[in-house]
Symmetry: C2
Subunit: 197 residues, 2 copies
DNA sequence: ACCTCTGCCTAATGCCTATAGGCTGTGCCC
DNA sequence: GGGCACAGCCTATAGGCATTAGGCAGAGGT
């Protein structure tokens, strides 16, 4: 496809994004620059334009990786589980992924990526997993949306605050997260018990 | 203090940050640049350095505004309320502030502002309000921390997702948020009923 | 009236993105 | 086996931004 052998291996869109993801996860999303990635690849900056569509395209590539990686992690974590068990596994996988790939996760939250069909589809694949997880508490698809948003908000918020060192108190963050998940389950139980109020 | 009258009013640290906040809230935090703010003020870029400490200082100023503004909004909203009533008012004020000041809110989440005493103190003032709000469900200060983190995560996550157009489904976001708040209350009730499990 | 100081300015540097156009080696085709 | 076409790297260049250095003018006190 786009692989040449000479002794020195040459570039490739995938390899460029690989390098960018590495920078993003190591030094933060804002630290990603074309010149930095080019330097990491041992190449001059303009050469990257043959593989990605400028800085915007590179960032989009990182975001797509983040979204897809998170989606598969979530899917893998919840396979064969249901109810509170599935929700807990989902939550742990979510937090774990964000902690391991802070740059890619942050990239996926860029607001300038709206109306991007491929990205939206990738996000939806992840949300389908969560939708399936909350189904035991709410059959109706219309109302599931609100539950999905609620759970997603809690997880996303925790993960963002944790990544941004937003938790100043010395109390254990693991413990806080475990409580958060338990409270989500309790909330869903209460919701179902009340018949979807 | 730093106000001169000539016919043309001159600069001031406060005025510079004012202009920056206006840009941030209108065009997004990432759109804030020294050159843009200088242009908005009818001034050349280097002139700003007499009032703020470069781009970093300007961003910090925006963040501080966001944190303090949010804190006072939260305090005002919860005065004279308690229990579920207070939590609902807190949540509504939180979301409302973030929606009205997206740039300042985003600025307040920058990860590069750790170990900044003044900022931390401002954040703590806001968190004290939330601490007081959850007190009816948990007296113990150690364990309050986890509840504060949980509620804060849910609100922060919702607000961030909403600001980033993360909710693709056409379902009402107001309704989702109202449910989120109700579920937080239900979760806290279940927590208290179980004696802090 | 002068002197100082505050606070604006111009000038210049360096890093970044982005575009245009040249050069080289690979692999195919004759 | 030799030339031809092309992929993919390169240099050169332009323009935007942050940042620093140093000049200049007006306000206010003495």
């Amino acid at each position: 496809m786009a692989e040449r052998i000479k002794g020195r291996v040459t570039l490739d869109a995938g390899r460029v994004v690989d390098a960018a993801v590495a920078v993003a996860d190591a030094d933060g999303f804002d630290a990603v620059s074309l010149s930095g990635v080019a330097a990491a690849l041992g190449v001059r900056t303009p050469s990257l334009y043959h593989h990605v569509d400028g800085l915007g395209g590179l960032r989009r590539g990182i975001a797509l990786r983040g979204i897809e990686g998170l989606g598969t992690a979530l899917r893998d974590a919840t396979i064969g589980r249901s109810g509170a068990d599935a929700l807990t596994a989902f939550a742990d996988a979510y937090r774990d992924y964000a902690a391991r790939h802070p740059g890619s996760y942050a990239a996926a939250q860029r607001t300038d990526l709206v109306d991007d069909g491929e990205l939206h589809a990738a996000v939806d694949r992840g949300l389908q997993v969560l939708r399936a997880v909350v189904r035991p508490w709410e059959e109706d698809e219309e109302r599931q949306v609100h539950l999905v948003r609620t759970v997603r908000s809690a997880l996303h918020g925790f993960v963002m605050l944790e990544a941004g060192h937003g938790f100043g108190m010395p109390a254990s963050r693991d413990e806080s997260f475990a409580l958060l998940v338990r409270l989500q389950v309790a909330a869903l139980d209460a919701y179902a018990a009340a018949g979807g109020a």
